[in-house]
């Protein structure tokens, strides 16, 4: 059992050395940022090697902080290089934009996400919605989606307070947390889809 973890850590260390070596050789600012994203995954790999529930709980905030840093740096890169208003094209594939296939696939993914529930379910359902929003040009008000995201986040946090202060109602809290995070992740990912589709002309 220990040997497996040691091999895992060895593989991660080799990956880290390769990534940092690439980083040391790279001269282009943008490529450095992309390589650092890979390096970040190495850090998450080391945490994952804990192999316990705790690892899962630690990866999530680690990932969030990594993404936040990446977003902040890419924003600075855009300002630094004076890049603005670059049009993002949607998927210009006739089969996808005209037929019912994306709709059916999305419904399937959303339904499957509901069954899975929790964070994974949110990811699957969100992916379905992203796919739909990318294939169809969707230009409605985003405020409603943002509000839904905020409310579901509040449900999630509320469920955690129930866990802490009223542990005898753990089942209600579990369901609340599962539904809250499902909605939260779904909505957040579909927002990515609409933001992408927004400039689809």
């Amino acid at each position: 059992m220990w040997a497996q973890y040691s091999y895992g850590i060895l593989v991660i260390m080799v990956a880290a050395v390769i990534a940092f070596y690439a980083l040391a050789r790279e001269r282009d600012d943008l490529h450095k940022l992309l390589l650092l994203d890979l390096v970040e995954i190495v850090a998450l790999g080391i945490i994952a090697m804990l192999g316990t529930d705790l690892a899962e709980a630690l990866i999530l905030p680690g990932l969030t902080v990594g993404i936040a840093e990446l977003l902040a740096l890419s924003q600075i890169y855009c300002t630094k290089e004076g890049i603005r208003n670059r049009p993002v094209m949607g998927l210009n594939i006739e089969v996808i934009t005209k037929s019912d296939a994306p709709l059916i696939l999305s419904i399937f993914l959303v339904a499957y996400g509901m069954v899975l529930s929790g964070f994974t379910g949110g990811g699957v359902a969100g992916l379905g919605l992203v796919f739909l929003f990318i294939s169809r040009t969707y230009r409605n008000d985003l405020n409603l989606l943002e509000m839904a995201s905020g409310i579901s986040w509040a449900i999630w946090i509320f469920a955690f307070f129930v866990f802490m202060f009223l542990p005898q109602y753990w089942f209600v809290a579990l369901m609340g947390a599962a539904i809250g995070i499902l909605l939260k992740v779904t909505v957040k990912m579909s927002l990515v889809g609409t933001m992408w589709g927004k400039q689809h002309d």
Binding site: A16, F20, L23, D29, K32, L33, L36, V39, E40, V42, A43, L44, I46, I47, M49, L50, L54, A55, L58, P61, G62, V65, G66, A68, E69, L70, A72, L73, Q75, I76, Y77, T79, K80, F160, F163, M164
Partner: protein
């Protein structure tokens, strides 16, 4: 059996797995962070003035209100993250707060419309991003060896000793996030105008460094 590194904990708040504890040392650091956050909140930003050497000519740099508003927000966020890092009793939370201080330090100067400052902020941000690897890895090794991330458990001395490599990685991560004594490397960023906000960069770096020394002495 509690080791007296930062003084005896006066108060321990257990909040599920998370815990917050206050010793004379952490209270001092917390109050310092709080004071400077309040100062950043209420103070008026400076206007930077360039004086031509050898003459009477000078010119004031124009800074828009929007830019200052953004920087004040970032300075306050930096202060809050610093306060969190000062009182937390969980190693992983400490690393998260440290990473957040790293981002907000970049954020404080990122709104400045000077190519020098932006370039410096970007390069420093790259280093901070790379430093999250040893930072999180250090915390992971702490958890792997002792089975706990709680600093109170470390203080009690009932858990196995933390290997030097974990402490080293934690230290390397904190230094990479741009903390003292290496924040001199960020000097280029401090060219940015706006006195009370830029000071938050130095202050948060110093406080985080003081706290990490305490944490390393624990296990």
């Amino acid at each position: 059996m509690i080791d007296l590194v930062g003084g005896v904990p006066l108060y321990i708040l257990e909040f599920g797995d998370e815990l917050v504890y206050l010793t004379p040392y952490t209270i001092t650091l917390f109050l310092l962070a709080l004071t400077f956050t309040v100062l950043a909140l209420i103070s008026q930003p400076e206007k930077q003035i360039d004086i031509a050497f050898g003459g009477d000519a000078y010119r004031a740099k124009e800074i828009s209100v929007d830019e200052m508003r953004f920087r004040r927000f970032m300075a306050i966020a930096c202060g809050l993250a610093t306060m969190g890092a000062m009182v937390t009793g969980d190693i992983f939370n400490f690393t998260l707060f440290t990473a957040m201080v790293g981002i907000t330090n970049v954020g404080i100067v990122a709104a400045v419309k000077s190519p020098h400052v932006q370039d410096a902020a970007y390069q420093y941000g790259l280093v901070a991003l790379a430093a999250t690897v040893p930072l999180f890895a250090g915390a992971a090794v702490y958890a792997a060896v002792t089975g706990s991330l709680s600093m109170i458990e470390l203080m009690k001395g009932t858990v196995p000793a933390v290997p030097l490599i974990a402490k080293g990685m934690l230290m390397l991560g904190v230094i990479g996030e741009g903390m003292a004594p290496f924040y001199a490397a960020k000097a280029e960023m401090f060219r940015a105008p706006g006195a009370p906000y830029v000071i938050m960069c130095s202050l948060s770096s110093l406080l985080i460094f003081l706290r990490v020394v305490e944490i390393i002495m624990l296990g």
